[in-house]
């Protein structure tokens, strides 16, 4: 029987290579969508299987799928699919506007699929060394996507992205080496010392000094990719200057995968270090990120840049939640990751169309979306309300859980959290409101936008705010329990 997991990895890899070889054909966008849909289908079925049958290995012990990463796999595949649907007409419009040529579209599609492949590989690998390799490969595949427009600004953004993430990922490699060193002392030179399943078994015996140092390096390294302050500089630039579908997957997926890597390591660090060292470190970084991003939000003029800062802010909040630890906070963190992914990609879809319509990303020049295209206008408005954590959207639920948990266990942090969220709310809402409801003279687009993904995402977010299906709750709970 063909393993479903093989499909999850093989479809994006094969289609990425096929798209690269075939060039820009009429069917290429459809292949992109079909491949993404296939990946999603395979991962959904895989999820059902894992939920029913429990965690398992694939290819010897090379890959390990448990309830934690299978949840990220599904999320990644889902957002990948909706992004490919969105990018069809979006990229055609860009081409008609003369901003992109056929070879660039070919590059975009093949790299998009390869990016999906690297992220899925990062999520499912059992080997923390391969996790590093896949994370670095994810950067490499997206560097050329960020500079797709070849404008001075996009080149600069891509350069910053490469160099900063390169430096960050180098720190992570050092952390991985230290981790391997610590593990080898316990597990011996069997070559298993980087396999997560073995590491978890011996986490209590790992040397605390080495693990503390390793965790610092890994947190800083992968934290660069998560966008943790002060290593966040690449993120707004890359989001603002790259094509919108790329912004959507960067915000919605890459940040999650990087955070996932940190979470895996945190489990080991918690096991090895008697004190709550790792958690406190994450809480500190998370809080700092949240506050800094919130205050930078109000100074933004570019709409994609502003939402990029919003991503940083939410990543800070999530990191803080996982830093607090415990079943409730982990549950809230996982929920918030899911909701942020869905909401933020939906927002970027809407923003992409809005910017395309108005021919600019400068917020002052985007006005009256509700009149030119009510669907986009409402999409942006609802997405904004959702990301700001207004009930009944799901983000409200997860933020509420994080806040109440913080009040109970870390009361000192509550005013800071509330202040940052308040500032963020005021800045974003104050800027989005005139964009949606102001006066305008913009023209119609040559290709009708694919607006379905926006509302599909928002509908799920809304549903998760009102009612979380019981199997999803169980699934989250199990993952949260694994995180300790």
């Amino acid at each position: 029987m063909l393993d479903l997991f093989v499909l999850v990895l093989a479809i994006p890899l094969a289609s990425g290579l096929a798209l690269a070889l075939a060039g820009e054909r009429a069917w290429a966008p459809n292949l992109n969508i079909i491949a993404s849909a296939g990946t999603f289908l395979a991962s959904a079925l895989l999820t059902a299987e894992i939920v029913a049958g429990g965690p398992r290995f694939v290819f010897g012990e090379a890959f390990f799928i448990d309830s934690m990463n299978v949840f990220f796999v599904t999320l990644t595949a889902f957002v990948g699919m909706t992004t490919s649907i969105f990018s069809g007409p979006y990229m055609r419009n860009e081409r008609e506007h003369g901003r992109l040529s056929a070879p660039r579209l070919r590059l975009y599609k093949s790299m998009f699929q390869l990016f999906m492949f690297t992220m899925l590989a990062a999520l499912t690998t059992n080997n923390l060394g391969i996790l590093w390799v896949a994370m670095e490969a994810a950067t490499l595949t997206t560097v050329l996507l960020v500079s797709l427009y070849r404008t001075p600004a996009s080149l600069e953004a891509a350069w910053k992205y490469f160099i900063l993430c390169g430096v960050g990922i180098a720190q992570a490699l050092f952390g991985t080496i230290l981790l391997y060193f610590a593990a080898e002392r316990v597990l011996g030179e069997t070559g298993n010392a980087l396999l997560w399943t073995y590491l978890v078994g011996v986490k209590g015996q790992l040397d605390p000094t080495i693990m503390a140092l390793a965790f610092i390096f890994l947190l800083v390294g992968y934290g660069t990719k998560v966008g943790l302050v002060p290593l966040h500089n690449w993120l707004p630039d890359a989001h603002a200057e790259g094509p919108t579908p790329v912004s959507a997957v960067l915000s919605g997926l890459l940040l999650n995968v990087a955070l996932y890597a940190i979470l895996r390591v945190k489990v080991l660090a918690d096991g090895a270090i008697p004190s709550d060292f790792a958690g406190n470190l994450m809480m500190g970084f998370g809080l700092l990120t949240l506050v800094v991003a919130a205050f930078f939000l109000s100074r933004q003029k570019d709409i994609k840049r502003m939402f990029a800062y919003s991503s940083i802010e939410h990543m800070g909040l999530i990191t803080f939640a996982f830093g607090m630890g415990g079943a409730v906070a982990n549950f809230a963190g996982l929920l918030h990751m899911t909701l942020h992914s869905l909401t933020k990609s939906a927002i970027f879809f809407a923003v992409g169309h809005a910017a395309q319509k108005c021919g600019t990303q400068v917020m002052e020049d985007i006005r009256g979306l509700i009149r030119i295209n009510p669907v986009i206008g409402w999409g942006l408005m609802l997405g904004t309300l959702a990301i700001l954590g207004l009930p009944p959207f799901g983000v409200f639920a997860s933020e509420f859980m994080i806040l109440t948990h913080a009040m109970k266990h870390h009361p000192w942090a509550t005013p800071i959290l509330l202040l940052a969220l308040g500032v963020a709310f005021a800045s974003i809402f104050g800027k989005v409101q005139p964009m949606v409801f102001g006066e305008t003279h913009a023209q119609r687009l040559p290709h009708a936008p694919a607006i379905t993904p926006v509302f599909v995402h928002l509908a799920i977010v809304l549903m998760l705010g009102l009612w979380i299906p019981p199997y999803l709750t169980r699934w989250f709970q199990e993952a949260a329990r694994m995180l300790g």
Partner: protein, 218 residues
């Protein structure tokens, strides 16, 4: 102290020396040669560890290092520099003595950080962990202080050299599959950067990354 440990220490010290030489080097072509030399020293040191410990995968690592870091990458960089017609002098952003002093401080910090860890290790090459960390830090410093694109990339690659040294000194190298993956990433990274250099030059008529400083928070 056995002869192999002495040799490994000597090679490690050479790597540190080369890291400093790269930090102070103003010419891009010399910089590439220094980088190649560092790769060669790294390969030699790995070979000594391999011979001492009789670990087959370390022979492979040494060969891979030689091929990739002493031959292939310098060759690509040489070609790039020729094709891009950038044989200019490399200008450091802050003065060399200042950079050097900062470098010394970094070395002291790295040695101190690495000391407790290397004492836990039982490898013949454990003493070099501090040097490995120092080389990483120095390469990082080089990336910060340089204003041209090619030296920044060489700094990036030198950082990888330091990490590789760290892996061999603390644990006799990572598992083979991971090392292959890392090597592949580095190679692809350099190729992508090569493409990227041409994009930058076409856009700015120069590879001076001071052009790339417009995206800032106002």
């Amino acid at each position: 102290m056995s002869l192999s440990t002495q040799l490994i220490n000597l090679f490690a010290a050479t790597i540190l020396l080369l890291a400093f030489a790269m930090l102070a080097q103003r010419r891009v072509l010399t910089l590439i040669n220094l980088f190649a030399l560092q790769g060669l020293t790294l390969a030699l040191s790995t070979l000594v560890v391999a011979v001492t410990t009789r670990q087959t995968h370390l022979y492979w690592s040494a060969g891979l290092t030689l091929l990739l870091k002493a031959i292939l990458l310098p060759w690509i960089l040489h070609r790039l520099v020729r094709r891009l017609e950038v044989k200019w002098d490399v200008e450091p952003l802050i003065k060399v003595p200042t950079t050097m002093l900062v470098g010394i401080v970094l070395v002291i910090i790295s040695f101190n950080v690495a000391l407790p860890i290397s004492q836990l290790s039982s490898t013949v090459s454990r003493g070099t962990l501090g040097i490995a960390l120092a080389s990483v830090m120095l390469a990082f410093l080089m990336m910060i202080t340089r204003s041209k694109a090619v030296p920044q990339v060489i700094g990036f690659l030198a950082m990888e050299n330091g990490l590789f040294l760290a892996a061999t000194s603390a644990t006799y190298g990572m598992p083979m599959v991971v090392e292959l993956g890392i090597a592949l990433d580095v190679l692809i990274g350099v190729i992508i950067l090569g493409v990227f250099f041409f994009q930058i030059r076409d856009q700015f008529d120069s590879l001076d990354i001071r052009h790339l400083e417009r995206l800032k928070e106002k």
